[in-house]
């Protein structure tokens, strides 16, 4: 059974969790198990880790990119 780990800074409401699970299963297969983990370092948004692929939609990463751009 394949697994997707969704890391977020806050506990998502039920409908959001369901939407994410359904969307991920559409792409990765209905046998996909989804696990939601609270991680403050994300700040906002989420990071999805599935099939050795990481989909980083976190605010933390966006801020890091912004910092890098400003330092140039």
């Amino acid at each position: 059974m394949r697994k997707a780990v969704i890391r977020a800074a806050a506990n998502f409401p039920g409908d959001l969790k369901t939407a994410l699970e359904n969307g991920l299963r559409e792409t990765f297969g209905s046998d996909l198990a989804c696990e939601f983990v609270i991680d403050d370092s994300v700040i906002g948004g989420f990071v999805v880790d599935v099939d050795r692929t990481v989909y980083d939609w976190s605010v933390a990463t966006q801020l890091k990119r912004l910092k890098k751009e400003l330092h140039k």
């Binding site: 959001l16 994410l20 991920l24 792409t27 209905s30 700040i43 989420f46 939609w57 605010v59 801020l63």
Partner: protein, 166 residues
């Protein structure tokens, strides 16, 4: 006064004695003395001539030495002038080199100062950027809502459409 015969004879004898004495002295003394005096005069004249000659020689030498001294003095003054000019030129060179070095040091220091200032400014700007981003992250952490997360989830899922990993 009437001269007697004896007195007359004495007188004649005296006069004759004087004449004979005169003749003898003239013969024995006058000529040698004259010869001596002539020789002496000649010697004196010769010595005077020699002295004049030597005086003339000395005067000529003196003039020659004075001319040489004058020439030496001219050479000496020329040498002094040349040394002064050389010293002036060397001093100018040293001053110019020192000025160049001083300018180089000042320019180098100014450049270093400017570089240090630019570095500090850059470091300050970096600090401001880091601080701003940190403050932003704290604000965002407090203010991100469920609706914001929903929007992100919609965008994420839309980007997944078309991918197929099953």
């Amino acid at each position: 006064m009437k001269l007697s015969g004896d007195m007359l004879i004495d007188l004649i004898i005296n006069i004759a004695s004087i004449v004979v004495l005169f003749l003898i002295v003239r013969k024995l003394v006058y000529k040698p003395v004259k010869k001596f005096m002539t020789a002496r005069s000649e010697r004196v004249a010769g010595a005077e001539e020699e002295a004049n000659r030597r005086a003339a020689e000395a005067a000529a030498q003196k003039e020659e030495y004075e001319q040489k001294l004058a020439a030496l003095e001219t050479d000496k003054q020329q040498a002094v002038r040349e040394s002064e000019e050389a010293a002036r030129a060397a001093a100018q060179k040293i001053i110019a080199a020192a000025q160049e070095k001083a300018d180089s040091i000042v320019n180098g220091a100014q450049k270093k100062g400017q570089e240090a200032y630019d570095k500090r400014l850059e470091a300050g700007q970096d600090e401001i950027i880091d601080l701003s981003v940190d403050i932003s992250s704290k604000l965002l952490a407090r203010n991100i809502s469920d609706d914001d997360n929903r929007r992100l989830a919609e965008e994420f899922l839309a980007s997944l459409k078309g991918e197929r990993h099953a």
